[in-house]
């Protein structure tokens, strides 16, 4: 990866992707607006819910917005960077996957760079705006530790969502018709992390929040930033655990990809 020749090759792939998208200027502009609209509506939904209730799972609107900001920024950015890997079944069907395998570069970065959806930039920028607004208006008592957390938690959440995208995409190595199954974890994860986990209950909360680790994307960092104790009783330092959780998720994703690609080679298209 560190070899300069390889880096130049990846940069060239990225440039080509940018140029091919520029070939459709009007569509690109429409897509920029449309993609932002999706995230705007997600945030609007939260506002509508708070129009009929003062509290959601024990959290006020200003507090919930910190959770929402972390979640939408992280999801939108991860979706921009690696979200298109959900098109893996199409890559296999159209033969792009085979074409990528006979080139002298690693398969995953090639796929991601060749199909980088630059139009999703607008969404990531909007997510960042929501996050900044939420952090500024939540009345956070800024300490050096919290400033550090506010800088580390968003990228950690991006890494986490990116890992989720890659891991769920590998399912289609085994089950090519798995269709929207991956959405239940990727987009499901986005919806799950948009609200305090106190909203959910039972084994469903246990599974998504701690089994898959989604509680560390937005909920626990938000608690630590707001200086609120966890109503569910976990210690305060858990808010700082998100980078560690993200690294574990990334390792799982790398392993899943490696095993999956080996499985592809042994069954083929």
């Amino acid at each position: 990866m560190a070899e300069p020749g390889t880096r130049r090759a990846y940069r060239a792939l990225l440039g080509a992707q940018a140029r091919s998208q520029a070939a459709y200027r009007t569509s690109f502009a429409v897509d920029l607006v449309g993609n932002m609209g999706a995230t705007v509506f997600d945030v609007m939904t939260v506002l509508v819910l708070f129009g009929v209730t003062r509290e959601l799972g024990g959290f006020t609107l200003r507090e919930t917005l910190v959770v929402v900001g972390l979640s939408s920024f992280a999801f939108a950015t991860a979706d921009l960077l690696v979200g298109n890997i959900e098109r893996l079944p199409r890559y296999v069907r159209t033969g792009l996957f085979d074409a990528v395998l006979v080139r002298p570069l690693a398969a995953l970065p090639q796929l991601l760079l060749m199909d980088l959806p630059l139009r999703k930039v607008s969404r990531a920028v909007f997510g960042l705006a929501v996050l900044v607004f939420a952090l500024a208006s939540a009345g956070i008592d800024w300490t050096p530790g919290r400033v550090a957390l506010a800088l580390v938690a968003p990228p950690a959440a991006v890494v986490f969502f990116a890992a989720v995208f890659v891991t769920t995409a590998t399912v289609s190595f085994y089950w090519i018709d798995s269709g929207e199954l991956a959405n239940s974890v990727t987009y499901g994860g986005r919806d799950f992390t948009s609200y305090p986990v106190t909203v959910y209950g039972g084994w469903f909360r246990a599974l998504f929040a701690y089994g898959m680790g989604f509680a560390f994307v937005s909920y626990h960092p938000a608690l630590a930033l707001l200086g609120r104790p966890d109503p569910l009783g976990l210690p305060a330092w858990v808010g700082w655990a998100s980078p560690g959780v993200a690294l574990v998720a990334a390792a799982v994703a790398a392993l899943a990809w490696r095993v999956g690609i080996r499985h592809y080679r042994s069954t083929g298209s």
Partner: protein, 220 residues
């Protein structure tokens, strides 16, 4: 010296077959059944068989796309799957029904991009491209986006793309499928020329492996 070696190369797929309304059975289908073959440097080989004979599967095992179920394969002395990226620098592949090129970009841009991907010194790249341009008459559509090319033009582009890094072995999977008579002739003529060459910038003519389904066999 052997550039391609295969000993008892096998590939089996498990498929699920519906046997009743709900029951499904796993069945093993042998796509490639123990192929032994040696191909020498500079040789040109036609790999012929009817549809479904396992030609493309063999080619995919030799290029590192598929893992053999049994047997041993060596291309340029490398193990195709384990040494995939190293092998990729030394071979060129054309999948007749699939494209290696960038759909929305002019052909010229795809070639420039491949120079970076394969890390080819620009002088070498330019020399090979010049040669392909004259042999394959690329000039008239070099600045056309690939999606607007005719099938024959695209295939000439694909051939060029597979040769720009000076591969030792050139794998062609049904390179003339769907082409009209004239384009077929152009591709065949080019391949024959390639086999004769033996001069720079190719240095040594690549070993050429071409799969072709039954009907085309007579015309090869």
């Amino acid at each position: 010296m052997n550039v391609i070696e295969m000993d008892g190369l096998r590939k089996e797929f498990t498929v699920r077959v519906r046997t009743g309304r709900l029951r499904r059975e796993k069945r093993t289908v042998t796509a490639v059944d123990g192929v032994d073959l040696r191909v020498e440097r500079g040789e040109m080989l036609g790999y012929i068989g009817p549809n479904g004979a396992g030609k493309s599967t063999t080619l995919k095992m030799l290029t590192g796309v598929l893992m053999p179920s049994a047997g041993r394969a060596r291309v340029c002395g490398l193990r195709p799957v384990a040494d995939r990226t190293r092998l990729a620098l030394r071979i060129g592949v054309v999948f007749g029904q699939r494209s290696q090129l960038w759909w929305d970009l002019p052909l010229r841009d795809s070639f420039a991009l491949l120079r970076h991907v394969y890390r080819v010194p620009s002088a070498e790249h330019a020399a090979r491209l010049a040669r392909c341009r004259s042999l394959l008459d690329l000039d008239e559509f070099l600045d056309t986006p690939v999606r607007q090319l005719s099938l024959g033009q695209r295939m000439r582009g694909e051939l060029t793309a597979a040769l720009l890094h000076g591969p030792e072995v050139l794998f062609l999977d049904e390179p003339t499928i769907g082409l009209d008579v004239v384009s077929k002739q152009a591709v065949r003529g080019f391949l024959a020329e390639l086999g004769r060459a033996g001069e720079p910038p190719w240095c040594s003519p690549p070993t050429t492996w071409r799969t072709s389904s039954g009907s085309a066999a007579a015309s090869w």
